[in-house]
């Protein structure tokens, strides 16, 4: 289908809205009626037609507006994009991966013409038509990572692999769930995960690191992660907490359905061939409670998950104070009926009404 790109905002007047198409393909992150951490990785090799898993880098109706929001964040705070000097080759790796993937997966939107190292990149939605020399930084207006991630939805972290560890040595981070690239830059896998409760005791990180170190060329992986955000804000950074943290206090029983968003990250992992680094795209999808309740299975399940979530996790994810109000709202949509396994809406197999 042709994507109808929206003109909307993720700040101030918050005109962001999901179409019905976007709601039905929303990556609902709970495959059962409860939630606990796990190393829930699977291969990133496509998925059902139209789903967010189908393409290597999903493009949706929010593309143009998300890219505008990113450029505004960068204008205010250039440190959201950083690349240590040894990561330039990995930046070219990422540019190559995204340009090839998007031009193959969306030939009507993106074109890449290559003649040796003379490349021409056409991004129709953003009206870019640019010729440059591959691996020659001087022929791009930004570094290669910044250039391509100003044109690609989702945050990007590039991890250098050495000493049997991963090091956060480059990234473009403007749509993050309350963490800071500027703070984490140069840290290793255990250092940047230090604030996460419970997972260390469970041995999650040791196993996850082992898995990530072994991700091979041609075999990308993916998982979902989630949190809660009041208002459709992409930039929930610690740097701007003074602006968005207070908005959590504006929730009331009347507006919770439209103001409370489930924030889901599609996290993917690709081995980069020329640098042997690992790129970690973190793509954020937002859906309001009202959006989610249009799928009865998700209404039942979200209520049960939020109700039974351990207190430390609700605190870490930042919604412990609003949980009672969320449950008042969500319980209206839980009729106690069973839910099917897996994350899909399963509208055709809804249990019969009483």
């Amino acid at each position: 289908m042709t994507i109808q790109f929206k003109d909307e905002t993720f700040r101030d007047d918050y005109t962001f809205k999901n179409s019905e198409w976007a709601v039905k393909r929303f990556p609902f992150p709970f495959h059962e009626d409860s939630y606990m951490y796990s190393v829930n990785m699977e291969q990133h090799k496509g998925g059902p037609e139209g789903s967010i898993y189908e393409k290597r880098f999903d493009v949706d109706e929010h593309y143009i507006s998300e890219m505008r929001d990113r450029s505004e964040v960068l204008k205010d705070d250039p440190l959201r994009c950083q690349s240590l000097p040894h990561m330039t080759l990995a930046g070219w790796d990422l540019l190559e991966l995204i340009m090839i993937s998007k031009s193959e997966d969306y030939p009507d939107l993106f074109e890449l013409h290559r003649n040796g190292n003379n490349w021409r990149w056409i991004n129709k939605p953003m009206q870019i038509d640019h010729s440059f020399t591959f691996l020659d930084d001087a022929t791009l207006p930004y570094g290669p990572m910044e250039y391509i991630t100003r044109q690609t939805q989702g945050d990007f972290v590039i991890l250098d692999q050495r000493e049997s560890n991963l090091w956060m040595d480059a990234g473009m981070v403007t749509t993050q769930a309350d963490w800071s690239l500027d703070f984490d830059i140069g840290m290793n896998f255990f250092e940047w995960h230090a604030p996460v409760p419970k997972a260390h005791e469970m041995g999650i990180f040791t196993r996850a690191l082992k898995f990530l170190l072994n991700i091979q060329q041609g075999a990308p992986a993916r998982r979902l992660n989630w949190t809660m955000t009041v208002n459709p804000l992409l930039d929930t950074s610690p740097e701007n907490y003074h602006k968005w943290g207070v908005q959590k206090g504006t929730l009331n029983p009347k507006n919770i359905g439209e103001k409370q968003y489930l924030r889901v990250e599609l996290q993917t992992f690709f081995r980069l061939p020329r640098s042997n680094a690992l790129v970690f795209p973190i793509r954020c999808y937002l859906a309001s409670f009202d959006d989610l309740m249009t799928v009865p299975k998700w209404g039942r399940r979200l209520h049960r998950v939020i109700r039974d979530l351990p207190e430390e996790l609700a605190t870490y994810k930042g919604f412990i104070d609003n949980r009672p109000m969320m449950l008042d709202y969500l319980s209206q949509y839980d009729d106690g009926k069973p839910t099917s396994d897996g994350i899909w809406p399963d509208l055709q197999t809804e249990p019969a009404r009483d």
Binding site: E163, Q217, G218
Partner: protein, 320 residues
């Protein structure tokens, strides 16, 4: 499926370089381009030898930017289990092979201000790709390459012709050896050290570097072990409920694969850790040969790396 993703290819050229070493060049059968790779990466080549599927890792030595073909250079080992002999004696131009996507367990640390490379014999191969990668990015490198004699100096002439100022050759038969202590002592701050060659050479260089206070994270080496033959033994695979006899000339991993059990692997040389397997029960002696397990893992009798390690005893039950 285990191992890295696979690529169907055929042998496009075979070039004998000297009495021991032959280069094999490959092109894809589907007409597509090969993936690029980083210098130091290896590929696992899969060869049908009658009923046996041989899977041998070799460093990619071609230009990492060249997507039209991959090349490996193989030293004939007359003592081993026949992997390299099979390539030398049986593989012809036009034969089909399966190559894995590149896997790099010996990559350059791109933070280095200078890359100091120490090669012994066929250990030159990963450096050939790394040198091509570094030349393109104007990297600072220096190679010290020790060979047995002039006639066995694989790629010596090419290297000397292209990089006369950065390459130093040492001939054993002329009693010409690398003066490692002085070499290491004179390096600028920010130098990283890379060693690929026989075990004795790796141990010697690593040891000297440590004595001189080189930080561990600046010392990189790659030693692929070839599985060694050994006494036949029997293993029970608990998860797949099979009893497998491991022959004298096959590895435990190969025997498991022969029985149709899908076991994880990457390097098949005791280095990457991917094939680590839990031991459920054992009555006998483990013959651990890998570089992966810590000493206490080895002595615990709870873990084995089936790509290179063996067992000598009555009972062995694995969680596989």
């Amino acid at each position: 499926m285990s191992g890295a993703e696979k690529i169907n290819a055929k042998v496009s050229n075979i070039i004998k370089l000297n009495d021991l070493v032959t280069r094999f060049e490959f092109e894809r059968t589907d007409g597509q381009l090969f993936p690029t790779f980083s210098g130091g990466a290896h590929t696992v080549i899969e060869l049908k030898d009658g009923d046996l599927t041989r899977r041998n890792p070799y460093s990619l030595m071609s230009d990492p930017m060249d997507q039209d073909g991959y090349s490996i250079s193989v030293r004939r080992d007359d003592e081993g289990r026949g992997g390299s002999l099979f390539l030398h004696n049986n593989i012809k131009i036009g034969d089909d092979v399966v190559l894995s996507h590149p896997v790099n367990l010996f990559s350059l640390d791109l933070r280095a201000k200078k890359h100091l490379m120490i090669a012994g014999g066929i250990g030159i191969t990963p450096f050939l790709a790394q040198i091509k990668q570094l030349d393109r990015s104007h990297g600072n490198w220096e190679l010290h390459y020790s060979v047995r004699n002039q006639s066995l100096g694989t790629y010596v002439n090419d290297l000397m012709a292209m990089h006369p100022n950065d390459v130093n050759i040492y001939y054993d038969d002329e009693k010409n050896f690398i003066d490692i202590v002085n070499l290491l002592d004179g390096q600028p701050l920010g130098t990283h050290l890379y060693i690929c060659g026989p075990k004795g050479m790796i141990d010697w260089v690593v040891n000297e570097a440590s004595k001189l206070g080189w930080p561990n994270e600046t010392i990189h080496y790659e030693e692929f072990l070839a599985p060694k033959p050994g006494k036949p033994f029997q293993v029970k695979l608990s998860a797949s409920n099979k009893v497998v006899n491991v022959g004298e000339n096959e590895s435990l991993l190969e025997a498991i694969e022969r029985e149709g059990v899908d076991a994880p692997y990457l390097c098949r040389g005791g280095a990457c850790g991917q094939c680590e397997t839990s031991v459920i029960e054992a009555d006998g002696e483990f013959i651990h040969r890998d570089h992966w397990l810590e000493d206490d893992d080895k002595s615990s009798g709870k873990k084995i790396m089936p790509c290179v390690s063996r067992f000598d005893g009555k009972t062995l039950v694995l969680d596989r």
